[in-house]
């Protein structure tokens, strides 16, 4: 039996639908991300699990118990907010111990648990400080400790890293995952940052316009996107217009250049389709046995670890990512060049 279940959850604000037919079963200890652009309904879904918004229809089960109409303060669900939301009038220790104090835990037990949590977030000497005296990253660690101290059944995080600097964001990302694994707590993580979702999650729920586009492991989401939206939203993607030459063998043509794909094509010969390919599956130069596209380089971006090169083929662009090497001399704009990719690397995008 799944630990946290969302059955046919729907949320409507007036006439606008915020979440439509959301279904999910999370296992104990699973880390699930809700990923999507702003306004896709991911935060609304999280707030329904927290109890801050009632669903218009559908039910939420926690360990088999229906909590759909349980008030937020009776749900035993910990929450971390984007804006930290630490109580400014309390010390770090009092913030962390707040949930236990409300539950009527004896003072000595609270003290012990607070110290435990401070160790867990690597801020052992910060108990007597006030939130205003901490950096953003430290405040969010304390918020995490506060949300975990009272031993909730589920941990919810609402874009917890969006307000932080890039470097701290990456550090804290690893920190959250480490703590989550250590406590084996079922976690729902809302983010619009695909890198965050891909690097942290056991599974990702991709959402767009109130609808769940796909639920899968980061590997599945990235390599086998179920919908056009998922393919475009997660990672970089080339989409090339091409004409079907032989639907049976999967051959087609891009601006007069022949291309082989792995699958049979469901469209008749001569019809136009779109071919999708990730930039990192493209090799620079001509490679034997692979598809080769010739064109003219019209953009070179040096991004450090990778060099992103754009090739103009006929009237279309295709971008390829190459790993940087010290001996590599980036090609100059306007020179003719070739891109190669294997037939397995590309797939037919939905229209």
């Amino acid at each position: 039996m799944s630990y946290l279940t969302l059955n046919h959850i729907r949320k409507q604000f007036g006439t606008s639908v915020a979440v439509q037919d959301f279904n999910l079963s999370a296992e104990k200890g699973e880390f699930i991300s809700f990923l999507g652009p702003s306004g896709c309904g991911k935060t609304t879904t999280l707030r329904m699990i927290a109890g801050f918004e009632p669903p218009t229809s559908g039910e939420i089960l926690l360990q088999g118990k229906n909590i759909t109409h349980t008030p937020a303060n009776k749900r035993n669900v910990g929450m971390v907010f984007q804006a930290y939301a630490l109580f400014p009038n309390m010390t770090v220790a009092d913030n962390i111990g707040f949930g236990l104090k409300i539950a009527g835990t004896p003072k000595s037990d609270i003290q012990q648990r607070v110290n435990e949590m401070l160790e867990l977030i690597h801020l052992p000497d910060f108990g007597n400080r006030y939130p205003q005296q901490l950096s953003g990253g430290q405040q969010q660690r304390v918020a995490l400790a506060r949300a975990l101290a009272f031993r909730p059944q589920v941990l919810l995080l609402d874009e917890p890293l969006s307000a932080l600097d890039a470097k701290i964001r990456v550090d804290l990302r690893g920190e959250i995952r480490r703590i989550q694994r250590q406590l084996n707590i079922t976690t729902i993580y809302v983010t619009h940052d695909q890198e965050e979702a891909l690097s942290m999650s056991d599974r990702i729920v991709v959402m767009n316009k109130a609808i769940v586009e796909q639920i899968g492991t980061p590997f599945e989401i990235y390599n086998y996107p179920a919908t056009d939206f998922t393919a475009r939203f997660v990672g970089q993607l080339n989409q090339l217009k091409c004409v079907v030459r032989n639907a049976q063998t999967g051959e087609c043509e891009i601006s007069g250049q022949a291309i082989r794909t792995q699958t049979t094509i469901a469209k008749p010969n001569g019809s136009e389709i779109r071919l999708a390919i990730r930039p990192e599956e493209i090799y620079f130069g001509k490679k034997e046995g692979l598809n080769v596209l010739s064109g003219v380089i019209d953009e070179v971006n040096f991004l450090g670890a990778i060099v992103r090169i754009r090739l103009l083929i006929g009237n279309q662009h295709i971008t390829g990512d190459l790993f940087n090497e010290r001996t590599f001399i980036p090609p100059s704009i306007g020179t003719p060049a070739e891109f190669s990719f294997s037939p397995e690397a590309c797939w037919i995008a939905e229209k």
């Binding site: 801050f52 910990g78 804006a83 409300i102």
Partner: protein, 275 residues
């Protein structure tokens, strides 16, 4: 080229005129209050006014009324505005409009309204037997005091509203409340442990303003025949001019001290060092 700023002579002229307009009567009052003893400057009027047992009585009565008013006002305004900020933000301008009423309706109209409405008992006829829902409030001491405090609460509304509203705007009420809820706290606990402590300086400044208003209030106390400081001062003015001017100066000083305290409290908005 001359880049020196011209001395803003007209600004200073207007400022000087304004200051004179404000300070001259005050200086005159102060001067007058020091001349109770013919021919010399003395504090006689002050010592005489302060040692009058009636002064102590009136002043302590008004002080108690002020404290009760502060408690009732805060108890009314803080939960109301908290709710408005949290769930009904569109209602805020309307609430603000209601709190501005004492500026629009003169106190004399308010007090007559109260007297007319509450001097007669409220009796309804329940199947032939009359049942008293509310007795006449003006016939008992406690009833009249309830009316007085109700009036003071209305008078203090614009000030308390502004103070609490500013306080609530400076904290993220919604997220703090949700954080509290997710940690298991109910609304009352969140108000008590999170919202009230974070509004500390806002509540204090609202309370001090209310104190200043109640101490100087005349019309409500006079028409409800209450032994407050306002009517006492007015009565004194009719019989002992020197003593009443002395008390006017004292109440001015008190008001200024209160204002200074407000300024101090709202400026020193640093976290407390310990519990």
């Amino acid at each position: 080229m001359n880049t020196d700023k011209k001395f803003p002579i007209w600004s200073w002229v207007w400022f000087g005129l304004g200051a004179l307009y404000f300070f001259l009567p005050l200086i005159a009052t102060l001067d007058f209050s020091l001349r109770a003893q013919k021919g010399t400057i003395s504090l006689l009027a002050y010592t005489r006014a302060m040692s009058d047992p009636k002064f102590v009585e009136a002043f302590s009565f008004s002080t108690i009324m002020a404290f009760v008013t502060i408690i009732v006002s805060l108890g009314l305004v803080v939960p109301t505005l908290y709710w408005v900020h949290l769930y009904l933000p569109k209602l805020r301008p309307w609430v603000e409009f209601v709190t501005l009423m004492p500026f629009v309706i003169p106190a004399i109209v308010l007090v007559f309204g109260l007297l007319r409405t509450y001097s007669a008992p409220w009796i309804i006829n329940f199947g032939g037997t009359p049942i008293t829902i509310l007795p006449s409030l003006t016939e008992s001491k406690i009833g009249t005091r309830i009316l007085l405090i109700s009036g003071y609460v209305v008078l203090s509304l614009p000030y308390i509203f502004r103070a609490v509203d500013n306080g609530l705007r400076s904290i993220d009420v919604r997220t703090l409340t949700e954080a509290g809820q997710s940690l298991g706290a109910d609304t009352l606990t969140i108000l008590r442990l999170v919202i009230f402590p974070n509004l500390r300086s806002a509540l204090l400044s609202g309370a001090l303003l209310t104190f200043a208003i109640v101490i100087g209030e005349l019309i409500f106390a006079a028409f409800l025949a209450q032994p407050a400081f306002g009517p006492y001062l007015q009565h004194l003015g009719q019989h002992r001019a020197y003593d009443s001017t002395a008390l006017t100066i004292v109440s001015f000083a008190l008001t200024w001290a209160v204002m200074g305290l407000i300024d101090f409290v709202t400026r020193s908005n640093v976290p407390q060092k310990s519990h």
